[in-house]
Symmetry: C2
Subunit: 244 residues, 2 copies
Amino acid sequence: MPKKPYELFYWPGIPGRGEYVRLALEEAGAPYVDVAREREGGMEEMTALLEGEGTQHPSFAPPFLRDGRVVVGQVAAILFYLGPRLGLAPKSESGALWTHQIELTISDLVAEAHDVHHPVGVGLYYEDQKKEALRRAEEFRTARIPKFLDYFESILAANGATEAKPRLVGKSLTYADISLFHTVDGLKYAFPKATGRLLKSRPLVASLHETVKKRPRIKAYLESERRQPFNESDIFRHYPELDK
Amino acid sequence: MPKKPYELFYWPGIPGRGEYVRLALEEAGAPYVDVAREREGGMEEMTALLEGEGTQHPSFAPPFLRDGRVVVGQVAAILFYLGPRLGLAPKSESGALWTHQIELTISDLVAEAHDVHHPVGVGLYYEDQKKEALRRAEEFRTARIPKFLDYFESILAANGATEAKPRLVGKSLTYADISLFHTVDGLKYAFPKATGRLLKSRPLVASLHETVKKRPRIKAYLESERRQPFNESDIFRHYPELDK
């Protein structure tokens, strides 16, 4: 009997944090339903699960994944669960944990990228905190992005990665590689000048981004209608005044 | 042969994120060394490991834990590793994952608690972003703390928790209970008025805080010199102007 499709629950209209899960599923060619986008009544189903109806494990926020009786939320936890099932994580405890640790560090970078345009609070519009965003963006561009990229560059190097085969963990592709690809993609969208400049001296991160993007299933997905473009309701937002 | 002590690496002088790991080790009565505080040359050892000397798995930032050949960073990943070893997590995959997911949600709350006093950037002093902090604190007190506490209250209730025995997962104490205790403790320190008021209508979270605090090993630890007090160089800071 073929496997029942995974069910991904996330807000429609933005790639958002759901994209990290989508990309792993797409790379693996795993069957899944993007419930709130694709299923009649999907939004109501998502809301009910968030309120703890029909699950003992409600998530604080989307994305979350349902796989039969398992419901799991938090991007890093979802990928930790999916990793071995999709062949996108090492099998050893130590390797799985290291991949997960890298993913958690990527999550920290993603949270900071979001806070650049919402420094004062998630409940306010960007326009109401633009002055603060300008200050925060400067630090993000000049200190935080470089610090994170340097870290990823150094662990790629320590893993023996080459520009031809840049891998964060071992010799095979993991979900951490895919997540770093997407995060760099988001940074290039939001801060094209700063990110373009910074990537020049981080060749392994740059080539990880380029090579993951060209993988056949990722490429097909990015060109499909399933892929939602980055936009200014999302984590990675392009406000030209925040880039230099 | 007795187990070699765990080695915890974290900045001295603040409880910080290291405290989540310390409290789990203390509750379990596990032997550990707080390297940067207790060992001659411990700070240099920590710095070297952060720079990837002597480990293939350097962390982006402290805390990290060394257990023989394993080095693991990121609080939630450290606790995921320690959980089954300390008897502070369920053994089933699903239970372990759920405990971890709750921990990750606690981590999100902790990050937001930090950002209240550093909305514009980690590289600036509080005094240089006080006006922005006042705005962010209002949303944190009136929207974010309540939303997180409501979530924890609801999953406690769904788990059949009672005020006499408030547990987030199953019937036994997990590291998530300990982490929620410490986070509430931090919120009570930083925002005593707001937190005190909010806890009145979240009796399960309130009693989790009270009962974990009284556990014999936790109590002994909190009264010992190993416990560093909350202070204004830390995540949870008491600035009276940010509380109401």
